[in-house]
């Protein structure tokens, strides 16, 4: 059931809720840019797609 009525507490807690929302948004942004920065600076990433990956193939005659 959707909340159709607002209560006085929603106004009272607006500041808190906005603060938490901003913190979470900031954290998401920080995590994103941290990831980009780590990858740009030599972090390794494996793309498991259709590109052949030599380290997973067994060399011929190396049984």
């Amino acid at each position: 059931m959707p909340i159709t009525e607002t209560h006085e507490i929603h106004h009272r807690r607006l500041g808190r809720n906005l603060g938490v929302a901003l913190c979470l948004a900031g954290f998401v942004g920080l995590s994103f840019f941290l990831t980009i920065s780590k990858l740009r600076n030599g972090g390794t990433i494996e793309g498991f797609d259709y590109v052949p990956q030599p380290e997973f193939t067994v060399g011929e005659g190396s049984e």
């Binding site: 209560h7 507490i9 500041g15 808190r16 603060g19 920080l30 780590k38 600076n41």
Partner: protein, 310 residues
């Protein structure tokens, strides 16, 4: 709408009250010294990693502040200086402060480990442990040396900043630690000389109360004398340079002169001019630390231009 009755108290905790639990003023010192530790290190870090690391170090410091306020709520209620803190003011419950402190501690340590390295994260965890358990729970109410040993907690941030960049410890980072560590007692005791009635009431052992004020005046001078070689010695390491050494020499002379005057004065003279000298030395001590780390930063900036350092 009686189902929200439990939440209708007038003292609703606002977002700012939770921020106040993290001791933002202490946090600003942590941010500044950790940032200097990070920037003067010989190894650079990507800007985003640096910003994230400083943020998580600050958050860890804030978490230990919240845990400190949770544990010390009983004495905070008694002292005038701390009565307005969120728990004694009735805005935040002790349980909320405890859980905020614990969650933020874990979060900041894990995130610092991911953003920087495990050594820096372990160092941050140790700093929180040291401040909350060793200082707040154990030493603060037990010994008048509380300030001396507790000062170590405030001295770790530049070492953590250095560890973020280098992943280790070195003579430079130990001397930065030493500078804050030995600076804390004279800084705090100068404050205690002109406002100690608070600690009396809360039964926190303060040197001014347990060993008397003349002894405190002597100890201010003793620690200032110990501080001088540390501050100047830092200038001879790889992160120092002529600019730092010149700034440090002036500041140390001024601080020494102040400590000497405090030692020479008796209580009657101090009461006569409302502790003017003690207040001046306290303000000077703040400037002393700020300018020392500012000078280290200046040297790092000059080195970028091939001008600073030795």
């Amino acid at each position: 709408m009686s189902d929200f009755a439990a939440n209708t108290q007038t003292q609703e905790a606002q977002f700012g009250d939770y921020v106040a639990l993290l001791k933002p003023r202490v946090m600003s010192l942590v941010v500044f010294t950790a940032l200097v530790g990070l920037l003067v290190a010989p190894v650079g870090v990507p800007p985003v990693v640096g910003i994230a690391a400083i943020l998580f170090i600050a958050l860890g410091g804030g978490a230990s502040g919240a845990l400190n306020m949770w544990y010390d709520a009983d004495i905070d209620r008694v002292m005038k200086r701390t009565q307005g803190r969120p728990i004694p003011a009735g805005k935040v419950t002790p349980g909320e402060a405890l859980s905020l402190g614990l969650w933020l501690s874990g979060f900041s340590v894990v995130m610092l480990g991911l953003a920087a390295n495990l050594f820096a994260a372990a160092f941050l965890a140790f700093t929180i442990f040291f401040y909350v358990v060793i200082y707040t729970m154990w030493l603060k109410r037990w010994t008048p040396q509380n300030i001396v040993i507790g000062g170590a907690a405030g001295a770790f941030p530049p070492m953590i900043g250095w560890a973020v960049a280098t992943g280790g410890v070195s003579i430079e980072s130990i001397l930065m630690f030493g500078l804050i560590f030995v600076w804390t007692p004279p800084h705090f005791w100068a404050l205690a000389l002109f406002m100690n009635s608070d600690y009396d009431k809360a039964a926190v052992p303060m040197l001014t109360v347990t060993h008397g004020r003349p002894h405190t005046r002597r100890m201010i001078l003793v620690y200032t004398l110990a501080l001088v070689p540390l501050a100047l010695g830092l200038g001879l390491t790889s992160i120092g340079g002529p600019v730092y050494l010149a700034v440090s020499a002036v500041l140390n002379l001024a601080f020494l002169r102040g400590a000497w005057t405090i030692w020479k004065r008796d209580e009657d003279a101090a009461a006569a001019d409302h502790y003017a000298v003690e207040k001046k030395v306290f303000r000077l001590s703040l400037l002393y630390l700020f300018l020392h780390f500012g000078a280290l930063l200046a040297e790092a900036g000059l080195r970028q231009l091939n001008m600073g350092g030795w």
